[in-house]
Amino acid sequence: MPACRYQAASLWRGSIILAFLLLLSGEAVFSSTPSPLVFVTNQGDDTVSVIDLHRHQETKTISVGSKPAGIAVTRRGDAIFITSPESREIHRIDGTTLKVTHARQLGKGPLGIAVTPNGRQVYVADWYEDLVYVLDTSDLSILDRIPVGDSPSGLEISPDGSRLYVAERDDNRVSVVDTATHRTLARIQVGRRPFGLRAEPGGKRLYVANVASSDLSVIDLEEGQVIATIPVGSTPYGVAVTPDKRHVFVTNQHDNTVSVIDTQYLKEVRRLEVGEFPEGIMVGPQGDRLFVINWFDNEMVVLDLETLQITSRYPTGESPRSFGIFIAGGS
């Protein structure tokens, strides 16, 4: 409480000026829309491409460790984490300056990576060590190591941040880990060689792409079991879900297509030609566009989710993958 009238007056002045400034700055402050940047890990030229969707072009190329593959962008887009399995490194990129702020050696084969919704911790799966590392996002220091199953690949954190889902590729299994205690709560058998996975907004279901059996396992997380296994195209890699939860998209690497799954009827309803060797995939934060990274074509294609047509293409660096979350606020 202001101690005297003078302080009260300046408080009023201050708040009026502040309100005015806020009005001027408009969308940038009021809107909760994350920045329209797409990050692409280019495994072939050791870089990360930054594509600005508003400016319709790649605006920056950031050098990172050798053969970057995995990626996790925080919900607000303030930080981006990259795994480079070949050089066994993790890099942290600042979402504003777009510069590497931290880098460290980690494990023997770090690939799958996921950051918590509050942006404080990042989980990294080490393929060789059968471990998930828990790192502090501010300095990449190791907070814990969680032993998991064989060849952990894709990682996904539940929308409320309470659960970590681990695709244990060579165990044909997904493990559910409590993020508070780091204890494994459940292990759910899925198809053969689960790799990419994504939870639906709201967190009731988890969709898992099985590379060897070329199908998608649908896990009801409340029941703790697979409720459907849906055949998709050859060697599926990544999974994306619409914000309204009604559709799931899967990249089929050898089929050059994306499978469109209806989540109510639990079947594939369309298969879209997208380009060659599609891998990373995301639905944009507005839920109106689908972003697909084509490893062979060195290109990202954007599809309109209303028409399911390709509306734009962006060249990337060499051999792009973007395994994980590569757009802030996307799903």
Partner: protein, 264 residues
């Protein structure tokens, strides 16, 4: 075992270390070739055989020596903890360390998937060019191929064995075929790296119309090098793999161009 106590309840250290090390190395070296979407890590059948040989020897050594030692040092009733005089420190551990050290290179990161894309412009209609290449079981247009035999026609699932002039053989499987679009997609199921230094190889072949009425043929491959571990020998590294595949595509497409443009 004496006193009815099972040795399994003791779980001596060296058995566990043995299990962990062999499991990890087994995964690196012996995962099936056809199932490896993971970019960096791959098993290779030749290395797998060598590893299995060492593994058998190692397991036999541990089993024989370990079993004999355990028999002599079986715990008295009630005492289930491993005795201090089990040969963990003296024998098994050094063996494990030695094995892990020699295999450390094998534990290191594997190769990244490579790609090769070769295009050739041909002064002949796409229909004519397609006519020459469209039979999956006829590779006579490629100068390095002596003969092709197989079954299944041009249906997905068809298999062929190509015998090269050098005598080497490549076993391939047709995955997709589109007569309308003049394209097909196939995979190598088996090949000796001395013949072609690649693993996990898949390839697309396509004939498209060029603006001048001719054709553009595109031959693309995605593969890993022949040697999956660190420090590959020069003949099995990334460069060797890319060079070999590039050579196959270039020589094939150049000859195809000659044949197609010869008229008739």
């Amino acid at each position: 075992m004496a006193h009815g106590v099972s040795t399994m309840t003791q779980k001596p250290l060296y058995f566990e270390a043995h299990v962990i090390s062999t499991r990890r190395l087994d995964k690196v070296l012996c995962a099936p070739e056809s199932e490896n979407p993971f970019s960096g890590f791959l098993a290779f059948s030749m290395t797998c055989r060598h590893w299995n040989y060492h593994l058998v020897l190692y397991q036999a050594t541990i089993a024989t020596y370990g079993a004999r030692k355990l028999q002599r040092h079986a715990p008295s009733s009630g005492n289930l903890t491993p005795r201090g005089n089990l040969p963990v420190k003296k024998i098994a551990l050094p063996l494990i360390v030695l094995l892990l050290l020699t295999m450390e290179a094998a534990l290191a990161h594997g190769p990244t998937r490579k790609k090769v894309i070769i295009k050739e412009q041909i002064q002949a209609s796409p229909e004519k060019v397609w006519e020459i290449v469209k039979n999956f079981h006829d590779m006579s247009w490629h100068p390095a191929v002596r003969q092709t035999e197989g079954e299944g026609g041009n249906a997905p699932g068809a298999r062929r064995t190509i015998t090269l002039n050098s005598g080497g053989k490549i076993h391939e499987k047709l995955e997709k075929y589109d007569d309308q679009k003049h394209s097909f997609f196939y995979r190598i199921e088996k090949v000796d790296v001395k013949v072609l230094p690649v693993t996990n190889y898949s390839s697309w072949f396509k004939v498209e119309p060029a603006s001048d009425g001719g054709s553009i043929v595109t031959w693309k491959g995605a593969f890993y090098r022949g040697y999956p571990n660190n420090d590959p020998p020069p003949e099995l590294n990334d460069e060797a793999a890319v060079k070999a595949v590039t050579g196959v595509y270039k020589s094939g497409l150049e000859n195809l161009k000659k044949i197609a443009e010869q008229g008739s």
